[in-house]
């Protein structure tokens, strides 16, 4: 290339000078944009790190809880009801059940607190403390825990066995210093003697900080907050997720396939498409109101039931799945369709044998993201009565239940702030863990399916 090909030398030089002059500015602009991008990502990551850090710092201590390891004596003088009734020859099943039920009631009415009291005293024999103050050391569920040991094995009568009892919420607060240990007596929850006993039991090893498995195995509790767990909420969430998967995936995929592959393109399908997109943007609380009005008031389904929750969340997840499935159907190469049709496959065969399998990774990702979103949804569940205090593990989707995010909301509102602040964060950690797990499964399955396809 020579200078002669340019219009004129002078004009070329002027253009080049102009370009060179602006070059520095353009480079600077690019640098600025890059830095702005890096900064905004750093800020976002920083906020996430602060959030996770705070939740982890608050919640992790809650997973280790003060637990008493003592010897309990099943005193025949204290335990009433006598030996467990044997089934008499000729007695009917109903009579036997009644005898068992009467026996259980009599056993329950025994003075289990006295047994707990004696058991704790074995760990600190010389410590003088009133029974009333001593019992504040352990959770009030301890007596039922020991009773249940006896129910499970009535041969324990008269025996001394090692038992573990949870420390009460207030003991845990004191030992962990959640309530400032230097605060004066009138601001402490426990009596002076109870606090001293707790310290002594920690010193002699009777109270240890064990991993709190009961967070995963127990249901929620108000009367014994230390033993409150997530099992009921977890089962409630599980039922709802199953209902969402079972209902939303087939309905969503079927609607998407019909709309994308079979439906005529006219004003009606346009209207439907617009409305599906609108539905995806409807705030979740509106679905809750709808659920309360239709499923509970009109259809008469039970309140607080995971079935209703699942149905409401299904409505919420459907648009996500329909939209994602349609876009992955659109992304399938037209050559695939043409090849299938060209080889004589029917429209139906083309769609179901060739096009749809290509979209599985997309559908799967959409499903898992939709389910993860539904798992964290709280607002609609509050409106269908799932925010109640429920101390049963739901046996089926019609039983009352809460859900994990609702449990977080309930614990956040508990009046024992000192204990439940940590417990709330622990529940958040569990929920976030589940979310991460679901997303990891989504990524794993997608890469696997994509490789096969």
């Amino acid at each position: 290339m020579t200078d002669t090909t340019l219009p004129t030398n002078a004009a070329g030089n002027a253009t080049r000078a102009l370009v060179r002059k602006s070059l520095a500015r353009r480079h600077r602009d690019e640098m600025l944009f890059r830095w702005a991008g890096i900064l905004s990502i750093a800020a976002a990551l920083g906020f996430v790190a602060i959030l996770f850090g705070m939740i982890l710092a608050k919640g992790m201590p809650s997973f280790w809880q003060s637990t008493l390891h003592v010897e309990a004596y099943f005193d025949p003088e204290l335990i009433e009801g006598g030996p467990r009734p044997e089934r008499q020859a000729g007695a009917s099943e109903a009579d036997y059940q009644k005898a068992i039920s009467d026996w259980q009631r009599a056993v329950t009415l025994s003075n289990w607190n006295a047994i707990v009291d004696k058991a704790v005293r074995t760990a600190a024999p010389d410590f003088e403390i009133e029974t009333r103050d001593l019992l504040k050391l352990v959770t009030s569920a301890a007596r039922f825990q020991i009773r249940d040991l006896y129910f499970a094995n009535p041969d324990l009568l008269g025996q001394t066995v090692p038992v573990t009892m949870l420390g009460s919420a207030n003991t845990d607060n004191w030992l962990k210093g959640t309530i400032d240990r230097n605060q004066p007596d009138e601001r402490q929850q426990l009596a002076v003697s109870t606090r001293q006993l707790a310290d002594q039991l920690v010193a002699n090893g009777a109270i240890r900080f064990d991993f709190a498995w009961h967070i995963f195995t127990n249901v929620d509790s108000r009367s014994a907050p230390a033993s409150a767990g997530l099992a009921g909420a977890f089962m409630g969430s599980l039922y709802m997720m199953l209902i969402v998967i079972v209902l939303a995936v087939p309905i969503g995929v079927a609607s998407a396939v019909y709309l994308e592959e079979f439906a005529p393109k006219n004003r009606w399908t346009d209207l439907i498409e617009v409305n599906i997109n609108n539905l995806a943007a409807v705030p979740s609380i509106v679905f809750g109101l709808l659920g309360a009005a239709v499923f509970i008031n009109y259809l008469g389904l039970p309140r607080s039931a995971p079935l209703v929750g699942g149905l409401v969340l299904t409505l919420m997840t459907l648009p996500t799945i329909i939209i994602a499935t349609r876009s992955s159907l659109r992304a399938v190469a037209p050559s695939l369709r043409q090849a299938a049709l060209g080889l004589g496959a029917s429209h139906n065969q083309t769609v179901f044998h060739h096009v749809l399998p290509q979209t599985f990774p997309g559908i799967l990702t959409a499903t898992i993201i939709g389910v993860a979103q539904a798992l964290g949804e709280t607002a609609p569940l509050l409106l269908i009565g799932m925010s109640a205090f429920i101390a049963n593990i739901p046996a089926n989707p019609l039983d009352s239940a809460t859900a994990l995010p609702v449990q977080i909301y309930l614990w956040q509102g508990n009046e024992n702030r000192n204990f439940f602040e940590a417990r709330t964060s622990a529940a958040i950690i569990v929920l976030l863990g589940l979310m991460l797990l679901l997303n990891a499964i989504a990524i794993f399955l997608r890469t696997r399916l994509e490789r096969r396809a």
């Binding site: 039920s101 402490q188 509970i296 389904l301 044998h353 109640a388 019609l398 508990n414 009046e415 702030r417």
Partner: protein, 342 residues
């Protein structure tokens, strides 16, 4: 692919079948909702009830405020409706009328104890010795100055009364959905209003003048006490309104104010010395007795000495217990189906 389709179809059919089956199945768990003040007590009794009577399910207890509880109770009769509405205020005549209009004709009231309403600040704040008139002057939208009603001019507690701390006024009071608000209105604002000596005016105008809170430094909390506590944490100068049991469990962060010179404790409330207290009660739908298993046993268990009685489980949780004669009379009235009269 086909199998997957068939499987999904089968599952959808099953789910639809399950739905119809659900309608036919009868409910065997007691459903309770209402006042957030009563909620902890009600939940504790529910849980202990499940422990003591292994044949019954643990009742479900939801919040929603006293107003919500009474409204849901009065929605009608049937399994989809509430069995018990918790309330920290009495059911009004209009609420009962609403009940009757919806076919809920058998409504029984059970009073199980008392609760004090306390005023608390952050632990590092000044000592408050409050009188109802102080609170009225701090909260009302219009207050009398030299016999004229003017927009509330006070911004600092020491302007209202020199004995109060030099601290900016900021009060978090319960929203109108809470039963606590009603008691607060009657025992604090109306009492303070009377003591402040308002100029002569019509009855309706008087009520509005007494009970309308200002909007600048008074915030009405629709949520529960944790929300009020959060307000106090973000603004340590604020005064919050709490139930005695909530304050009791958070004594390490809250400092309580005396009202008319009396400090709120279980004793002063039980003896009626502390002025801002109210009975706690729940309303039972009589039509559900014998239909929902365990409803009668739950009420009897609630009123038993080991729960609501002096030295019982609920006292440890902050309830001001009623006398055992009173509890026995409540149970007697409940079992003999005495109807609630406002």
């Amino acid at each position: 692919m086909k199998t997957a389709l068939y499987a999904s179809a089968a599952v959808v059919a099953l789910a639809a079948f399950g739905t119809t089956a659900a309608v036919a199945q009868s409910r065997d768990t007691i459903q309770i909702a209402g006042s957030s003040t009563v909620l902890p007590f009600s939940s504790i009794v529910a849980e202990e009830f499940g422990n003591a009577f292994p044949d019954y399910n643990v009742p479900n207890v939801a919040g929603g405020g006293s107003g919500g509880g009474k409204r849901q109770l009065c929605e009608g009769v049937g399994e989809a409706t509430l069995d018990i509405g918790n309330s920290s205020s009495k059911m009004s005549a209009s609420e009962l009328e609403n009940c009757h209009a919806n076919g809920v004709t058998d409504v029984r009231e059970v009073v199980f104890g008392y609760d004090g309403i306390v005023f608390a600040t952050g632990i590092d704040q000044g000592d408050f010795a409050l009188e109802p008139v102080h609170l009225y002057k701090a909260i009302a939208a219009q207050v009398p100055v030299d016999g004229e009603m003017v927009a509330n001019p006070y911004t600092n507690w020491s302007e209202i009364d020199p004995s109060l701390p030099d601290q900016a006024i900021f009060v978090a009071i319960p929203g109108t959905n809470h039963g606590t608000r009603e008691v607060f209105d009657i025992r604090v604002l109306e009492a303070g209003c009377e003591a402040a000596g308002l100029p002569e005016m019509e009855e309706d105008a008087m009520e509005a003048a007494c009970l309308t809170p200002r909007q600048d430094v008074v915030v009405e909390i629709a949520g529960d006490y944790t929300e009020t506590l959060a307000r106090l944490q973000s603004n340590p100068e604020a005064i919050g309104v709490f139930g005695l049991s909530f304050y009791d469990q958070n004594r390490d962060t809250l400092k309580v104010a005396t009202v008319s010179g009396v400090e709120p404790t279980l004793e002063t409330i039980a003896e009626g010395e502390y002025p801002v207290s109210r009975p706690l009660q729940f309303y039972v739908k009589g039509a559900h007795i014998g239909v929902i298993p365990g409803l009668e046993d739950y009420v009897a268990f609630f009123l038993s000495e080991q729960m609501a009685g002096a030295g019982g489980t609920l006292e440890a949780a902050g309830l001001v217990p009623a006398s055992s004669e009173f509890l026995a009379a409540q149970l007697e009235a409940f079992t003999s189906a005495v109807q609630y009269q406002p």
